[in-house]
């Protein structure tokens, strides 16, 4: 089972938890336990390596949402193998190194957890067989690297550096996501296998330039390519193990990995060559030049890393197969010598207390062993023969000579490459000479000494690798490089030779020019430093912070302008937007009027329309006199229900009528507590503005409505009309739709109704309202709150009203009526009793628990739906049959009726819960808050 590919990322993922538990033990035990699972993963990778060397690509996938191309998929080919070995191998060395590097004060468990999380993310990137999954791991590396850079969060530079790294790489990640989605769109699959096979398709697609730029933005930000390189030096605020691991060996190589991964798909075009190689060349030169002037050891190494990343990018950009092989080779070499150099710098910092090369001098005397190791690694960085850096640099020089994409200017590339190499030698020399020789240390906080034995082990291993690879390259990494090249090129690997001696040729000459030139530059460094000091110091951190703060200020200003906390203004803005959005499409509509025959106008309709118009206008005109507005509103509501009746919607007419009654009662009750008049406070300008916007939206809506009604209708309702009787057992199609065809909707709706009622109940329960003793004009309320006439009449009306509501309920399935309407009629009947007799009178006579009613209503409706499961049918399947009883005659029983009963109970419960509780507030029965006692 452990042969499964998924274990390679899964083991580090599990390993993330280990240090959190192991940190209670000693630091060594913690380091040991933390290393266990990654080590197991490394064993797993090594065990699979022979298969990969045989040219096999191991793949494994788990389906998730295959329809959308989202699967958990892993692959191990030569390229993934190379990176897995780097990530896991160097990761293990860094775990050991960090054990000695971190001080007692640092939480080593937390550090290891972040580190292994990062390892998991990196392994995830390189083994992903799905583009979306690759992108997800890509983002995870940004996040985990943020956590690692800001590990010493008490330092301002750590926080700022972490934020900068996250911003830059995160923005690049978003660009990458867009690129990945475009690729998925072109190829029709996110599977890496399909994408790799569709190189021609993508390169010939119209959106290829966009895809290329987006993907390269992701790669360049991650790999610190010019002009996004500035975050990397600032990420050096991280603890040195992090710098060694993330910012030299692995994370910054993720961008390189992406370019190598997409090499068969995106490379080979003029555009690729121009963008990638020119960016690489610029980065190479800039990094190498700036590195020489950094006084901070880690700063020098950071810019040197930028420069080497530029070199690898340049190689990939050249687009020749041999250049790609050289790029992969340099990835390995750079990882080994740069990680060891960072570790050596960390040792120097740890044991001498400083990283400033103006203080650090003559350390050879104090730590000769570490100095030897660092000098070998630095020599590899400079490209001295017999070391690995020399080999890949030779290949690089050879490739610069062999390309001709710049036409007659192609000779410039090898010249620039040599200049870059000159500075590379110069800063390597500075690293060796300035730190270990060049006089005596100046004002060091500590007396330097050799580090603990095991802190040196990782450096020794890495430097050993530099030597071994440099002397016997084919023997040690021949297979690995070959299979990685095969995976990158996805085709035939060209002939190449890893020998150290190729005879006297041009690349060798370039190497010697670089070595000699570097020595000359270093010797004359004083003049160069002086020249450089004339430039104004330009701290990218300040620039970056400045930009961030500028954006922040502008956004804040915009927020103040639009979001000032005034709901009145928000509704105005939303309505304006709605107006624009609605009116726009109408401009394209050629004719307002359609061809559907219209109904002739009759006198009654005209009268109704006039009443409605007068009512609506009166509501607006007298809106500040609230009682008048309410009366006018009720006129409008009444006309609306008549409109429904007129146009063949009896159910709607009944519902509207009943709702109108409860709404007006509700608003009257509310008016008891709210001011009865609205103060005049809108400016004339605002009134005009609101009138204009209201008139335009009203006009637009009316136009849409007219255009809609005068055009023929293609409705799905024929189905309901046909099946209502035979499928639903009722002739009132509206009711059958409610309780049967669309029963699930109705269930949702009564649930909302119940929730709203309970919400209102809770709002009322803790309301502290001043109870007015008189109305607006100072007149006291009538003493005779329950007139005798009303009491007597309403009391005799109750049974009648309940009878009507029962009748409406029962016939609802076949004639206009049903649970909703019956529920509202019942509510109106009960409210009438409240009005006529008062809360106290009702309370002693009617023991109705409205909350229970809502609950049981929804439960009955839901259970009716669930009941159909018992018969093996889908949720809410209805059943009906006809029965015959003596006296009663033939009648029908339907499960939908039970459902309608649930609707009825919920409607009654909700309406009464709202109105009865609100009404209670006006009486001595109002709930008394405990605090008041």
């Amino acid at each position: 089972m452990l042969n499964d590919l998924i274990w390679i990322p899964l083991l580090p993922l599990l390993g993330t938890l280990v240090p959190l538990f192991a940190s209670r033990f000693s630091r060594s035990a913690c380091a040991f336990l933390t290393a266990a699972l990654p080590a197991l993963a490394l064993v797993l990778v090594l065990q699979l390596a022979p298969q990969v060397f045989d040219g096999e690509t191991i793949r494994q996938s788990f389906l998730w949402i295959p329809e959308m191309g989202l699967n958990l998929a892993f692959r191990l080919d030569g390229l993934a193998l190379l990176f897995c070995l780097l990530i896991l191998g160097i990761g293990l060395l860094v775990i050991l190194y960090a054990r000695y590097y971190l001080s007692e004060k640092d939480s080593i468990g937390k550090f290891y957890a972040y580190l292994i999380l990062f390892m998991f993310a990196m392994v995830g990137i390189v083994t992903s067989d799905n583009m979306i999954q690759l992108w997800m791991f890509w983002e995870l590396t940004s996040i985990s690297s943020f956590l690692l850079i800001s590990f010493w969060g008490h330092k301002s530079e750590a926080r700022k550096g972490a934020r900068m790294a996250l911003t830059v790489t995160g923005a690049g990640g978003l660009a990458l996501l867009a690129g990945v989605l475009l690729i998925g769109n072109i190829v029709g699959s996110f599977s890496l296998n399909d994408v790799l096979a569709s190189g021609d398709l993508i390169r010939n697609h119209a959106s290829y330039p966009v895809v290329l730029v987006l993907v390269l933005l992701g790669a360049f930000t991650k790999s610190a390519q010019f002009p996004f390189h500035f975050w990397l030096p600032h990420a050096m605020a991280a603890p040195t193990p992090v710098s060694a691991y993330l910012h030299s060996a692995t994370m910054v190589k993720a961008g390189i990995f992406l370019m190598a991964r997409m090499y068969p798909v995106l490379s080979g075009t003029e555009l690729w060559f121009l963008i990638v190689s020119m960016t690489g060349l610029a980065t190479l030169l800039l990094g190498a030049y700036v590195a020489l002037f950094k006084h901070d050891l880690k700063g020098l190494l950071a810019y040197s890393t930028v420069s080497h990343l530029g070199l690898i990018t340049l190689l990939l950009g050249m687009g020749t197969e041999l250049a790609a092989v050289a790029a992969l080779f340099h990835i390995i070499n750079h990882a080994t010598f740069k990680a060891s150099l960072f570790m050596a710098a960390g040792i120097i910092d740890h044991e001498s207390g400083s990283r400033d090369m103006r203080q650090l001098n003559g350390l050879w005397k104090y730590m000769p062993y570490t100095a030897t190791l660092a000098m070998v690694a630095a020599a590899a960085m400079a490209g001295v023969p017999l070391l690995n850096g020399f080999l890949s640099k030779e290949m690089f020089f050879a490739e610069t000579l062999h390309q001709d994409s710049l036409g007659s200017l192609s000779w410039m590339v090898p010249v620039f490459a040599t200049i870059g190499a000159v500075f590379s030698v110069a800063y390597s020399l500075r690293f060796i000479h300035d730190v270990f020789f060049n006089g005596e240390p100046i004002n060091l906080p500590k007396t330097p000494h050799e580090p603990p034995r095991y802190m040196r082990v990782p450096v020794e291993i890495l430097v050993g690798l530099c030597l071994i690879v440099g002397i016997a390259p084919t023997f040690f990494i021949g297979d690995l490089l070959y299979s990685a090249s095969a995976a990158t090129l996805q085709g035939v690997v060209p002939e190449y030779s890893l020998a150290i001696w190729h005879g006297f040729n041009f690349p060798l000459l370039m190497s010697f020019i670089a070595l000699a030139g570097g020595a000359i530059v270093y010797i004359n460094r004083k003049e160069l430093f002086q020249f450089q000091s004339q430039f104004p110091e330009n701290d990218p951190k300040l620039v970056f912070e400045g930009i961030i703060q500028l954006i922040h200020r502008q956004i804040s200003r915009l927020m103040e302008l639009t979001e000032n906390g005034s709901l009145q203004r928000y509704s105005y803005m939303m309505l304006s937007l709605a107006m624009v959005m609605m009116a726009g499409p109408l401009l394209d509509l050629n004719a307002t009027e359609g061809h559907r025959p219209q109904i002739p106008i009759d006198a009654i309709s005209i009268t109704g329309a006039i009443l409605l118009t007068v009512g609506a206008l009166a509501t607006v005109i007298w809106n500040r006199d609230r009682m008048v507005a309410l009366v006018a509103l009720s006129v409008v509501g009444l006309i609306v229900s008549l409109i429904f009746a007129k146009f063949s919607a009896p159910d709607l007419a009944l519902t509207q009528l009943a709702v109108e009654v409860v709404t007006v009662i509700l608003l009257m009750l509310a008016l008891f507590f709210l001011p009865q008049r609205t103060p005049k406070e809108s400016t004339p300008l605002r009134v005009v503005r609101d009138l204009v916007i209201a008139a335009i939206i009203g006009g637009v809506i009316g136009t849409i409505c007219y255009a809609l009604m005068t055009r023929p209708l293609e409705s799905i309702s024929a189905f309901f009309l046909e099946n209502s009787k035979i499928g639903g057992g009722g002739t009132n199609v509206v009711n059958v739709i409610l309780v049967d065809f669309r029963g699930f909707d109705t269930l949702g709706e009564i649930t909302v109704l119940g929730i709203a009622a309970l919400g209102i109940f809770k709002l009322i329960a803790r309301m502290r309202l001043y109870m007015p003793a008189s109305d607006d004009a100072g007149r006291p309320w009538s003493k005779d709150s329950h007139p005798l006439m009303l009491s007597v009449v309403s009391q005799s009306l109750l049974p009648l009203a309940l009878l009507v509501s029962a009748y409406i309920f029962l016939r609802g399935h076949n004639m206009p009526g049903g649970g909703f309407i019956a529920g509202l009629v019942t509510s109106v009947a009960i409210i009438q009793q409240y009005i006529a007799h008062g809360v106290a009178w009702i309370k002693s006579r009617m023991k109705l628990d409205y909350q229970l009613m809502i609950g049981s209503g929804i439960t009955i409706a839901a259970l009716t739906g669930l009941g159909s499961w018992a018969f093996g049918r889908p949720f809410l399947t209805s059943w009906f049959d006809h029965f015959h009883l003596p006296l009663v005659g033939e009648f029908e029983l339907a499960s939908a009726m039970l459902f309608d009963l649930g609707v009825y109970l919920t409607v009654v419960g909700a309406t009464m819960l709202i109105l009865a509780n609100l009404g209670k507030l006006t009486t001595s029965e109002r709930p008394v808050l405990k605090e008041q006692n």
Partner: protein
């Protein structure tokens, strides 16, 4: 007839929106009620207008579209629940905040809509 109907829908919408843009809670509630009349009539009209053809099988020769009717029926009931909720919220807001302005605070100075500073916070 369709023209008059559309006019009524437009008028109800316009009146509803004008009142919904007022500053005090009660006119806003009234405005929302007017607006919901307009919306319900609009939705209902999407089934087209028909006279004497209720969607009750066997009662007439042709039937009006029952689907918009079913949708509007529930919309009326839910609309009531929402109106009630807003009304109670308005009362609660007045009880807790001491005023009935939708912003929860009274405007300080007589304001002109185009040159306003953000409110006191």
């Amino acid at each position: 007839m369709e023209g008059i109907y559309a006019f009524c829908v437009g008028l109800l919408t316009a009146c509803g929106i004008f009142l919904a843009l007022r500053g005090r809670t009660f006119p806003v509630v009234v405005g929302l009620t007017l607006l919901s009349y307009g919306v319900n009539l609009f939705l209902f009209a999407s089934g087209r207008l028909k006279l004497n053809s209720a969607a009750v099988l066997g009662q007439s020769e042709q039937y009006s579209d029952p689907l918009p009717q079913a949708l509007v029926l529930t919309a009326i009931v839910i609309g009531f629940a929402m109106t009630a909720f807003v009304v109670i919220l308005a009362m609660r807001a007045r009880a807790d905040l001491g005023n009935d302005h939708v912003d929860g605070r009274l405007p300080e100075v007589p304001e002109t809509p185009f040159q306003r500073r953000s409110g006191s916070q």
